[in-house]
Protein backbone atom coordinates (compact mmCIF):
# COMPACT_ATOMS: atom_id res chain seq x y z
CA UNK A 1 0.00 0.00 0.00
CA UNK A 2 0.89 3.65 -0.16
CA UNK A 3 3.55 4.87 2.28
CA UNK A 4 3.46 8.33 3.87
CA UNK A 5 6.43 9.89 5.60
CA UNK A 6 6.53 13.14 7.52
CA UNK A 7 9.50 15.20 8.64
CA UNK A 8 10.69 16.31 11.03
CA UNK A 9 9.09 14.06 13.66
CA UNK A 10 9.51 16.73 16.33
CA UNK A 11 10.00 20.47 16.12
CA UNK A 12 10.53 23.03 18.86
CA UNK A 13 10.24 26.72 18.01
CA UNK A 14 10.24 30.05 19.73
CA UNK A 15 7.10 32.11 19.28
CA UNK A 16 7.38 34.17 16.11
CA UNK A 17 9.57 31.72 14.20
CA UNK A 18 8.70 30.18 10.84
CA UNK A 19 8.67 26.47 10.01
CA UNK A 20 8.23 24.03 7.14
CA UNK A 21 6.73 20.58 7.56
CA UNK A 22 7.16 17.99 4.82
CA UNK A 23 5.05 15.05 3.67
CA UNK A 24 6.33 12.49 1.16
CA UNK A 25 4.10 9.82 -0.36
CA UNK A 26 4.94 6.80 -2.44
CA UNK A 27 2.13 6.70 -5.03
CA UNK A 28 -0.24 8.92 -7.00
CA UNK A 29 -3.02 10.42 -4.88
CA UNK A 30 -6.41 11.97 -5.55
CA UNK A 31 -6.76 13.62 -2.19
CA UNK A 32 -4.29 15.09 0.28
CA UNK A 33 -5.23 16.89 3.45
CA UNK A 34 -3.28 18.51 6.27
CA UNK A 35 -4.71 18.36 9.79
CA UNK A 36 -3.80 19.81 13.17
CA UNK A 37 -4.70 17.55 16.08
CA UNK A 38 -5.51 19.53 19.17
CA UNK A 39 -4.75 18.32 22.73
CA UNK A 40 -8.28 16.90 23.00
CA UNK A 41 -7.76 14.72 19.94
CA UNK A 42 -9.87 16.50 17.37
CA UNK A 43 -8.45 16.72 13.86
CA UNK A 44 -8.81 20.25 12.58
CA UNK A 45 -8.82 20.72 8.81
CA UNK A 46 -6.02 22.95 7.58
CA UNK A 47 -5.89 22.32 3.84
CA UNK A 48 -7.49 20.12 1.20
CA UNK A 49 -4.69 20.24 -1.36
CA UNK A 50 -4.21 17.34 -3.82
CA UNK A 51 -2.15 19.72 -5.96
CA UNK A 52 -1.13 23.36 -6.16
CA UNK A 53 -0.70 26.03 -3.51
CA UNK A 54 -3.13 27.47 -0.98
CA UNK A 55 -2.86 30.05 1.76
CA UNK A 56 -4.93 30.68 4.86
CA UNK A 57 -3.64 33.44 7.08
CA UNK A 58 -0.27 32.49 8.55
CA UNK A 59 -0.47 29.01 7.04
CA UNK A 60 0.16 27.95 3.49
CA UNK A 61 0.62 24.63 1.73
CA UNK A 62 2.04 23.38 -1.54
CA UNK A 63 1.59 19.95 -3.09
CA UNK A 64 3.74 18.85 -6.04
CA UNK A 65 1.82 15.75 -7.05
CA UNK A 66 4.24 14.75 -9.83
CA UNK A 67 7.09 14.64 -7.31
CA UNK A 68 4.94 13.13 -4.56
CA UNK A 69 5.41 15.59 -1.75
CA UNK A 70 3.57 18.33 0.09
CA UNK A 71 4.83 21.14 2.31
CA UNK A 72 3.06 23.00 5.09
CA UNK A 73 4.43 26.41 6.01
CA UNK A 74 3.71 28.07 9.32
CA UNK A 75 4.81 31.67 9.66
CA UNK A 76 5.05 33.80 12.82
CA UNK A 77 4.21 30.77 14.96
CA UNK A 78 2.11 31.15 18.09
CA UNK A 79 1.82 28.94 21.17
CA UNK A 80 -1.63 27.91 19.98
CA UNK A 81 0.02 26.30 16.93
CA UNK A 82 1.42 23.60 19.21
CA UNK A 83 0.18 20.08 18.61
CA UNK A 84 0.57 17.29 16.09
CA UNK A 85 0.31 17.95 12.37
CA UNK A 86 -0.78 15.09 10.15
CA UNK A 87 -0.66 14.67 6.42
CA UNK A 88 -3.23 12.21 5.03
CA UNK A 89 -3.45 10.90 1.48
CA UNK A 90 -6.02 8.96 -0.48
CA UNK A 91 -4.84 6.86 -3.41
CA UNK A 92 -5.74 7.78 -6.98
CA UNK A 93 -7.31 4.45 -7.91
CA UNK A 94 -9.15 4.00 -4.64
CA UNK A 95 -12.87 3.48 -5.03
CA UNK A 96 -13.70 5.35 -1.90
CA UNK A 97 -12.09 7.40 0.81
CA UNK A 98 -9.36 5.50 2.58
CA UNK A 99 -6.94 7.91 4.13
CA UNK A 100 -3.43 6.78 4.92
CA UNK A 101 -1.99 9.06 7.57
CA UNK A 102 1.64 9.89 8.09
CA UNK A 103 3.17 9.48 11.57
CA UNK A 104 2.79 13.21 12.25
CA UNK A 105 5.05 16.10 13.22
CA UNK A 106 4.83 17.17 16.86
CA UNK A 107 5.26 20.94 17.06
CA UNK A 108 5.97 22.76 20.30
CA UNK A 109 5.96 26.57 20.22
CA UNK A 110 7.55 28.14 23.27
CA UNK A 111 6.58 31.61 24.57
Amino acid sequence: GIQVEQSPPDLILQEGANSTLRCNFSDSVNNLQWFHQNPWGQLINLFYIPSGTKQNGRLSATTVATERYSLLYISSSQTTDSGVYFCAVDRRDNYGQNFVFGPGTRLSVLP
Binding site: N30, N31, Q33, F35, W40, G41, Q42, L43, N45, Y48, F86, A88, D90, N94, Y95, G96, Q97, N98, F99, V100, F101, G102, P103, G104
Partner: protein, 112 residues
Protein backbone atom coordinates in the same frame (compact mmCIF):
# COMPACT_ATOMS: atom_id res chain seq x y z
CA UNK B 1 -24.14 24.24 10.83
CA UNK B 2 -23.20 21.40 13.13
CA UNK B 3 -20.02 19.55 12.38
CA UNK B 4 -19.49 15.82 12.67
CA UNK B 5 -20.75 14.66 16.05
CA UNK B 6 -19.75 11.49 17.85
CA UNK B 7 -21.12 9.83 20.94
CA UNK B 8 -20.20 9.04 23.56
CA UNK B 9 -17.07 11.13 24.05
CA UNK B 10 -15.55 8.76 26.59
CA UNK B 11 -16.26 5.14 27.40
CA UNK B 12 -14.80 2.52 29.73
CA UNK B 13 -15.51 -1.14 29.00
CA UNK B 14 -14.33 -4.48 30.34
CA UNK B 15 -12.50 -7.09 28.25
CA UNK B 16 -14.93 -9.32 26.41
CA UNK B 17 -17.74 -6.77 26.31
CA UNK B 18 -19.33 -5.24 23.25
CA UNK B 19 -19.35 -1.52 22.38
CA UNK B 20 -21.30 0.65 19.94
CA UNK B 21 -20.00 4.04 18.85
CA UNK B 22 -22.16 6.53 16.97
CA UNK B 23 -21.48 9.20 14.39
CA UNK B 24 -23.68 11.86 12.80
CA UNK B 25 -22.19 13.36 9.64
CA UNK B 26 -22.43 16.94 8.51
CA UNK B 27 -25.85 17.59 7.01
CA UNK B 28 -25.86 16.57 3.33
CA UNK B 29 -22.73 14.42 3.57
CA UNK B 30 -23.24 10.90 2.26
CA UNK B 31 -19.90 9.31 3.12
CA UNK B 32 -18.81 8.25 6.61
CA UNK B 33 -15.47 6.71 7.50
CA UNK B 34 -14.13 5.30 10.76
CA UNK B 35 -10.56 5.43 12.03
CA UNK B 36 -8.74 4.08 15.08
CA UNK B 37 -5.92 6.08 16.63
CA UNK B 38 -3.76 4.50 19.30
CA UNK B 39 -1.55 6.68 21.45
CA UNK B 40 1.43 8.13 19.62
CA UNK B 41 0.37 7.04 16.13
CA UNK B 42 -1.61 8.39 13.21
CA UNK B 43 -5.19 7.26 12.67
CA UNK B 44 -5.73 3.89 10.93
CA UNK B 45 -8.61 3.35 8.50
CA UNK B 46 -11.30 0.88 9.62
CA UNK B 47 -14.35 1.33 7.33
CA UNK B 48 -15.93 3.59 4.80
CA UNK B 49 -19.65 3.72 4.03
CA UNK B 50 -21.20 5.60 1.16
CA UNK B 51 -24.91 5.64 0.38
CA UNK B 52 -25.43 3.00 3.08
CA UNK B 53 -23.07 0.49 1.49
CA UNK B 54 -19.63 -0.56 2.67
CA UNK B 55 -17.09 0.85 0.23
CA UNK B 56 -13.86 0.08 2.00
CA UNK B 57 -12.48 -1.97 4.86
CA UNK B 58 -9.11 -1.69 6.56
CA UNK B 59 -7.01 -4.41 8.10
CA UNK B 60 -9.13 -5.02 11.20
CA UNK B 61 -10.55 -8.30 12.54
CA UNK B 62 -14.15 -9.39 12.05
CA UNK B 63 -14.90 -8.27 15.61
CA UNK B 64 -15.22 -4.82 14.06
CA UNK B 65 -18.37 -4.07 12.09
CA UNK B 66 -20.28 -0.98 11.04
CA UNK B 67 -23.38 0.19 9.28
CA UNK B 68 -24.86 3.36 7.85
CA UNK B 69 -28.49 4.31 8.29
CA UNK B 70 -30.92 5.96 5.82
CA UNK B 71 -30.18 9.36 7.43
CA UNK B 72 -26.44 8.71 6.76
CA UNK B 73 -25.53 8.42 10.43
CA UNK B 74 -23.33 5.47 11.29
CA UNK B 75 -22.50 3.01 14.03
CA UNK B 76 -19.23 1.20 14.69
CA UNK B 77 -19.55 -2.01 16.67
CA UNK B 78 -16.73 -3.89 18.33
CA UNK B 79 -17.31 -7.32 19.86
CA UNK B 80 -15.23 -9.25 22.39
CA UNK B 81 -13.19 -6.23 23.38
CA UNK B 82 -9.46 -6.63 23.95
CA UNK B 83 -7.13 -4.37 25.91
CA UNK B 84 -5.53 -3.43 22.59
CA UNK B 85 -8.80 -1.93 21.38
CA UNK B 86 -8.23 0.98 23.73
CA UNK B 87 -7.90 3.97 21.43
CA UNK B 88 -9.45 7.14 20.11
CA UNK B 89 -12.07 6.28 17.49
CA UNK B 90 -12.60 8.98 14.90
CA UNK B 91 -15.42 9.42 12.44
CA UNK B 92 -15.09 11.48 9.26
CA UNK B 93 -17.74 12.63 6.84
CA UNK B 94 -17.48 13.93 3.31
CA UNK B 95 -19.95 15.08 0.71
CA UNK B 96 -18.95 12.40 -1.78
CA UNK B 97 -16.52 9.49 -1.69
CA UNK B 98 -13.35 11.40 -2.58
CA UNK B 99 -14.03 14.95 -1.43
CA UNK B 100 -12.70 16.87 1.57
CA UNK B 101 -13.19 14.99 4.82
CA UNK B 102 -14.14 16.50 8.17
CA UNK B 103 -13.56 14.71 11.46
CA UNK B 104 -15.56 14.53 14.66
CA UNK B 105 -14.10 15.02 18.12
CA UNK B 106 -13.70 11.28 18.60
CA UNK B 107 -14.71 8.69 21.17
CA UNK B 108 -12.01 7.72 23.62
CA UNK B 109 -12.47 4.03 24.47
CA UNK B 110 -10.66 2.45 27.39
CA UNK B 111 -10.80 -1.32 27.82
CA UNK B 112 -9.88 -2.58 31.29
Amino acid sequence: DAGVTQSPTHLIKTRGQHVTLRCSPISGHKSVSWYQQVLGQGPQFIFQYYEKEERGRGNFPDRFSARQFPNYSSELNVNALLLGDSALYLCASSLERNTEAFFGQGTRLTVV
